[in-house]
Structures are given as structure tokens and as C-alpha cells.
Amino acid sequence: MRWRDPIIVAGLAALLATPAFAQEFGREATPEEVALWDIDPRPDGSGLPPGRGSVADGRELYAVHCAACHGEKGEGGPNDRLVGGRGSLDTAAPVKTVGSYWPYATTLYDYIHRAMPYFDPGSLTPDETYAVAAYILNMNGIVPDDAELDAAAMAALEMPNRHGFVPEPEFAPLLPEVTEARD
């Protein structure tokens, strides 16, 4: 009967796929407030904010905000070691640091920005965050003393352990990077 009407059936399917109740719950987010919370960058640099920071500035900021937990030279302290460990991952005593283990510099920016300093996360400006990241990368011999980093420079950096990860086969079909590399 009327249920067989293709237009009505298509209409019902659309209702089920996109619940008619969306307007019943919460409210639409404005683009401005989404931008406020949408902080995650990707390895290609998209999502990183404008700004730039130097190794030299980062050295001073690091001493104030980071050294107490991570050591004067990133050697570690109450919290994670950040420097060194290259060549140790296949030994009996691997040392996982930003230099030896982290695959993307953009992740370093993201983590400092969202989670550090521990007692006041989010307090560093984008320029300061780029600077601290630059100094940590510099201590690991990844960027030179006179380096200044911005979004494009972060994305262009090839981290030492960039190819050190093997994604689970179950999720390989969902990884464009893996698919592209294979093609």
C-alpha cells in the first residue's frame, strides 16, 4: 500500500539516517566557538595556528616552565626524559624520548599546547609553544641553534623515528598514509 510508495520509503530512510530529533537536543555550535576548541593539528601541519618561535626564546621559556620536571637539558627528572636515546629502541634498555621515539613534530606542538606546563596547561601562547618545541627539538639535534619554527617548518621536519611504527593490520584500510605508501 502506501508504504510501497518509493518517495515515502526514501523519506523514511532519510529520517532514520538523520534523526529528525537533532533540533531537540542541544544547539548548533557557532563557527567561532568551534574554532576556540578545535585545537588538534595533523602531521601535515593543518590545524596548527599562525605564529613562530625560536630555539633561543625556547631555551629561556624551557628553563622557567619545563626544567623542574624534565631536567635542565631534557635529561628527565620527576617526569619524562625528553632528550637522547637515539639508537636504543632495539636494545634491552630502550629510551623513548621526543628525539628517539616521537614520529611527528606536530604532535609535540599539540601536546605542549594542550597539556603543558603541567600545572597551567594552555597558558603558553602559540609563539611560546613553537619556541619551546623548537628548543626541545634543538636539544635532540633535530633543528640547529638558530632555527625558528612555524606551522610549515614543523610539518616539514622529518623526525628520526618517523617510520618506526607499524599500524595494526586491522586498521590499515582506514589509514590513507598506509594505502598511499603501498600504492
Binding site: 534523526p19 537533532a22 578545535d38 611527528y104 594542550r114 595494526e168 586491522e170
Partner: protein, 424 residues
């Protein structure tokens, strides 16, 4: 089984010895299968007179004779640390029965402390590859169609004490206390995805917490996860406790615990992983060649004998072996127990509820002849996955993986009946 001798009587021949042990062991042993300590009241005449109790109250407290607590830990080997230095807190599996963990004893892993979030101001933003972006609050979630299910959450670090060093002071709380099972209530992720009109081409979702670290993980949008994940707001019938994500958290049954992001405040649909710190430098497992497994998200089939277990003491004769089994692939189909160092195996009985992606209780009656031995359990799930030996696991992963340890747990029993942790 019929030939088992009856439980050692409190007034039996070992009474004098056991009285001394009672003093030294104290309240550490509370479960069955243990040395039967003589009661203080030897005769019924010694049992205290009945008396009027305290008034009925607003909440029920535990008995003053019961001690139950989690223990805090930093990294493998750094146990019972100051709470300020702790990164997790482990469930006392050896003191619990059944399968449902009491709310206050559910294990905890927090990445930057426990925030106190007022639902009046807490918001969940759902956006990304979708037709619209929505801002939801707790009231919105509570008005939506809800589901309840029993599921375990297990930290991918559960078992990490077993990768390297033997330590005969370890209890099962130390080795396996990073798993708990609750009944969770909330709204299906698929319902929320439907509300915002998620783009079917979105293959990954970022889930972000409202804690200081903004804990964030990329979650693959597989059919299984879309079907089973929920935004939970209740645990065991009560609102989430702050340590477990109040006012709302993600729950991804069967997958590593940190995907079930607590204090959830943002879901973002995308078409590739977001490569947060947690899925690059933290929750990845080093292999012997120096590369690391990434997105090793599913919790594999696992089991452990919780009694008798590390630091307990048993007597010859009848002993009840019991423990817990679970699998992120689905339901447990079989648990076998060896009481002779893995030479022979007997199938244990699965007690009560056997639910997919939930801890399952098993037990076996055993007559211990008093000779030193090793006991262990081995679980199989409905998909046919069999819990590996530690040897096989390390053959595959080396011993620097840190995460996803699911090797068979061995307890060593000496001639005195002392039960101790053992790796082989």
C-alpha cells in the same frame, strides 16, 4: 571431585599452627580456598549476644571488619607510591567476588588529575566531518534513548609487572588490578553520530577529555565500534564518579581503556588518525626490532586466578580455585586450569553471567596434595583466541612492549602452602 576431603575444620588438627598464622597474616586473607583460621569464638557460647544496631542511614557503609582499597602505582615496580606521584590505582581483585566491581573500587587511570566538572557548565562539542556541529550537555544526553550494558574496561598497561622481573611479593592486585567490570548506562555513539549527520566517509573520530591534559585519542569508526560505543553518564546505576569521568565519558567496550576518554568534551569526525601524543609516543608497543605496534587497540583474551594467588596461603586438602577471564573479542567460551605446572589442564566452571567483553568468573574444586606446584589459568574466547603462555608472548613481542600483556599468570605454591608470584 567426589573424593575431595572436606574443608579443613577450624577446630581441626592444624588449629594451633593456624592461630599463630592468624596473627601474622592479619586481615590480608579474606577469600576462600585459604588456610582456615580458627574463629575467636570457639564455642557458640562465646558468640556475642545480639544487640540493637545503629539507625538506618542515607547510605550504607562497608563493615568495619572488611578492608577494601585500591593501591596506587607509578610505573612497573613503583608501587604504593604517594598519590601525587601515582598515575593509576589498582582494583583488589583478590578481595572481590562475582564479576561486577564496586563503583569506588573500579581501577583508575588519570592523565592529569581528577577534574571537578559542574554539569551546569560542562559541554560536549560534536563536530568535524558532519552536516552540523552540536553542543550538548548532560541534560541533553539524559533525555536521549539510553542503553545499559555490562562491560570491562582494562588499561593497556594491565599485566605490565610481568614483562621483565619476577617479584614474589606481588599480589594479583599488582599484576592484574587495572581491569574492572561495571554496568554502564548512556547513549549510543551511533545515535550522536546520527544527530550531527556524520559523513559516512569519516573513518576516525577524535575523543577529547576535559581534564587538564586534554587527553585525546583517535578511534577507528569500524562497524563494531559504531555499534557498541556509548557516551556513558552512569556506572552501576549511579552517576559517574569524578574519577571515572563525571559528568560524561566515552565507553568503547573491549578496547584499551584509554580510548574510553573520561570527562568527554569533544568528538571530532575525521578521515585519518589525529596522531596525538597518546597514540604515538605513549600507548604503542615496542617490538624487538625497535619498531612499535601502533593502534594495538583491542584487549586480547586474558584470565587470572584470583584465589589462591600471590601472598595467600593454602592448606593441603580441599581448595577452591577461582578467578576472572575476559576478552575484547567477545564472550569467554572456556577457561582451563592447570595445577601441575602446565602438564595437564582441567576445564573450570564458568559461574553466572557470561557476557561479551565483560569479566567472567570461573572456579574449580581442587585437592592439593601438599607438594610444591604451580597453578595457572588459560582462557579461550568465542572467536577461538587462546590466551598465550608468557613464553610465547615474549617470543613474539620481546619484553619491552610495556602494554598489552596477556600471558598466562603462574602462581607458585611451596610445601608450606605459600602462594607466590612466578614468571615461569
Amino acid at each position: 571431585m567426589n573424593k575431595l576431603s572436606p574443608p579443613v575444620s577450624a577446630a581441626g588438627k592444624k588449629g594451633a599452627l593456624s592461630r599463630r598464622k592468624l596473627l601474622s597474616v592479619g586481615s590480608g586473607s579474606v577469600a576462600g580456598g585459604l588456610v582456615a583460621h580458627p574463629a575467636i569464638a570457639g564455642s557458640l557460647a562465646d558468640v556475642p549476644q545480639r544487640g540493637v544496631g545503629v539507625p538506618v542511614g542515607a547510605t550504607s557503609e562497608r563493615s568495619e571488619f572488611v578492608e577494601l582499597a585500591r593501591i596506587t602505582e607509578a610505573t612497573p615496580g613503583k608501587r604504593n607510591v604517594d598519590p601525587l606521584d601515582a598515575i593509576n590505582s589498582k582494583t583488589p581483585l583478590h578481595k572481590l567476588d562475582g564479576t561486577i566491581t564496586p563503583s569506588d573500587l573500579h581501577y583508575e587511570r588519570s592523565h592529569s588529575g581528577i577534574p571537578s566538572l559542574d554539569p551546569k557548565t560542562h559541554r560536549l562539542l560534536v563536530h568535524g566531518m558532519s552536516e552540523r556541529s552540536l553542543v550538548l550537555d548532560l541534560g541533553d544526553l539524559r533525555r536521549m534513548p539510553s542503553i545499559s550494558r555490562v562491560a570491562f574496561i582494562e588499561c593497556s598497561g594491565n599485566g605490565w609487572e610481568n614483562w621483565k622481573n619476577d617479584d614474589d611479593t606481588l599480589t594479583v592486585q599488582h599484576t592484574h588490578g587495572l581491569i574492572s567490570t561495571h554496568e554502564w548506562t548512556g547513549v549510543r555513539l551511533s545515535y550522536i553520530a546520527g544527530l550531527v549527520g556524520r559523513d559516512a566517509a569519516s573513518t576516525w573520530m577524535l575523543a577529547e577529555g576535559g581534564d587538564a591534559s586534554g587527553m585525546a585519542r583517535s578511534i577507528p569508526m569500524t562497524e563494531e565500534i559504531l555499534d557498541e560505543a556509548m557516551i556513558a553518564y552512569a556506572q552501576n546505576g549511579e552517576p559517574l564518579r569524578p574519577a571515572h569521568g563525571y559528568p560524561m565519558r566515552l565507553l568503547v567496550p573491549g578496547w584499551e581503556g584509554n580510548l574510553s576518554v573520561k570527562w568527554l568534551r569533544r568528538l571530532k569526525f575525521g578521515d585519518r588518525p589525529f596522531y596525538t601524543r597518546w597514540e604515538t609516543s605513549r600507548y604503542t608497543s615496542l617490538m624487538p626490532d625497535g619498531r612499535a605496534r601502533q593502534f594495538q587497540l583491542r584487549q586480547e583474551v586474558n584470565s587470572v586466578i584470583t584465589s589462591p594467588s600471590g601472598m595467600m596461603e593454602i592448606a593441603p586438602g580441599y581448595n577452591r580455585i577461582t578467578g576472572l577471564a575476559w576478552s575484547g573479542h567477545g564472550a569467554v567460551s572456556k577457561v582451563e586450569i592447570s595445577t601441575d605446572a602446565g602438564r595437564t589442564w582441567q576445564e573450570a566452571r564458568l559461574n553466572g553471567l557470561v557476557l561479551p567483553k565483560a569479566q567472567t568468573r570461573f572456579q574449580l574444586e581442587w585437592h592439593w596434595d601438599g607438594n610444591p606446584t604451580f597453578i595457572t589459568s588459560r582462557a579461550t574466547d568465542e572467536k577461538g583466541h587462546v590466551q598465550p603462555t608468557r613464553e610465547a608472548l615474549i617470543e613474539q613481542m620481546g619484553n619491552n612492549a610495556l602494554f598489552h600483556y596477556n600471558g598466562q599468570q603462574i602462581w607458585r605454591i611451596n610445601a608450606e602452602g605459600n602462594v607466590r608470584h612466578a614468571l615461569a
